[in-house]
């Protein structure tokens, strides 16, 4: 293990890294959708609901 290695094909490791890649893409798209959906409502909550209604 101590020397430099040329990566060999390992389906299980590829699946592991692929799962992380997929999770990252799903999270990017999912949170973007949530931001569009809930962002304005959250902003109203943060700046104060009653004040935003003024």
């Amino acid at each position: 293990m101590a020397g430099l290695e040329i990566p060999s094909w390992d389906p299980q490791t590829a699946l592991l890294i692929g799962t992380i890649l997929l999770e990252a893409i799903v999270l990017y798209a999912g949170y973007a959708g949530l931001e569009r959906l809930l962002g304005p409502h959250l902003m109203r909550l943060l700046v104060g609901g009653d004040r935003s209604g003024q």
Binding site: M1, Q12, I17, R51
Partner: protein
């Protein structure tokens, strides 16, 4: 393929074996790290590996999972910077080779040191030096008001032509003219060998510590290659997607990537990064940068305390170290969120008053 997938989800996934308190800890810590990363554009990831070491994970698992987390974070951040047109794909492609060889050399060093029983101690010492050094630099710059030590939020609004090439980069471009030369975005002409040397050095650090290396690579790209700041940030992230992906793969082959750690961390950090990134629009970074520097310094002390705890066999000291690392990150992330809400309310009140 199906059986390997079952193997992965049966053993490698780890989430199923994990208690709800550990799952909540990783999601929460990911959220905090994401806020810091989204706000400062760097620095979140190098809290993960020390925390995992203090939680008694094997050094290769701590570094490998830290690197896989960096890979996932880089994928998310690159997608965003691509949308903003801040990625120099030519520079990224050239850097990938140097960084990859550097990461592999760093990874091989970790496994070698692990085989002789020195990995945990040496990685911790490297973290103390690194966190302490970068923390001192950021704190000094924040107190001087130089605005370095992270992404300059105002700078990201400037056109790429408006950036001046630093003197050191100009000097390197004039003196190192070893062919082949390449022209990068911002009309920068530089030797491929300079780019490769920068990439290798930062890759070595990434592979050894399980970090993205952005806090070294970004200044190196700006001061040694002469790349405009926003392009340095975007290209760094793009490059980490490939080098970090390969590094994670190599660590994964040796059993060093635990999806039970990476998945919840990423789940929290993806949300945190959005919040941190949005906070940059309403908060002046200079006011908070001093806390960021302080957090890195506390992190250096915490890793040192944790390592002493391990050395003398004191679980109390190890716990103190862990609490310090997580606590410092939580305090700075909370300061960002609190300042953002206060700033939002002030802005809203001002607008309401003007409208009246």
């Amino acid at each position: 393929m199906v059986s390997s997938a079952l193997d992965l989800f049966g053993s490698g996934l780890g989430i199923l074996d994990m208690g709800p308190e550990m799952l909540a800890l990783f999601v929460g810590f990911g959220l905090v790290v994401g806020v810091l990363f989204g706000f400062f554009g760097m620095g979140g990831s190098f809290l993960v590996t020390p925390a995992l070491l203090m939680l008694d994970y094997e050094p290769s698992v701590a570094v490998g999972s830290g690197m896989a987390f960096v890979f996932g974070t880089a994928v998310i951040a690159t997608l965003k910077h691509h949308d903003l047109g801040q990625v120099d794909y030519k520079l990224g492609a050239i850097m990938i080779t140097g960084t990859t060889i550097g990461i592999e050399a760093g990874r091989a060093s970790v496994y070698y040191l692990e085989s002789i029983g020195l990995a945990g101690s040496l990685i911790s010492v490297a973290y103390v030096v690194l966190l302490g050094g970068v923390g001192a630099m950021v704190t000094r710059d924040a107190l001087k008001g130089d605005g370095d030590g992270g992404v300059d939020h105002e700078a990201t609004d400037k056109s790429l032509d408006e950036y001046e090439i630093p003197e050191t980069a100009k000097k390197i471009q004039r003196t190192v003219r070893i062919p082949p030369m390449v022209t990068l975005r911002g009309d920068v002409s530089v030797s491929v060998w300079v780019i490769t040397a920068v990439a290798f050095a930062t890759g070595l650090l990434s592979g050894f510590l399980g970090v993205g290396g952005g806090f070294i690579r970004m200044p190196a790209m700006i001061y040694a290659i002469g790349v405009p700041v926003p392009v340095a940030v975007g290209t760094d992230l793009f490059e980490i997607v490939f080098s970090g992906g390969l590094g994670s793969y190599l660590y994964g082959q040796g059993g060093g990537v635990d999806l039970g750690i990476v998945a919840p961390l990423l789940f929290g950090s993806a949300l945190g990064a959005r919040v941190g990134s949005a906070a940059t629009a309403v908060v002046d970074a200079d006011g908070i940068k001093v806390y960021f520097g302080g957090m890195l310094l506390v992190g250096a002390v915490a890793v040192g305390v944790g390592e002493i705890g391990t050395y003398i066999g004191s679980p109390t000291l190890e716990m103190v170290g862990l609490v310090l690392v997580i606590g410092a990150a939580v305090v700075v992330a909370a300061a960002i969120l609190y300042t953002s809400v206060v700033s939002l309310r002030t802005t809203y009140d001002r607008q309401a008053t003007t409208a009246d």
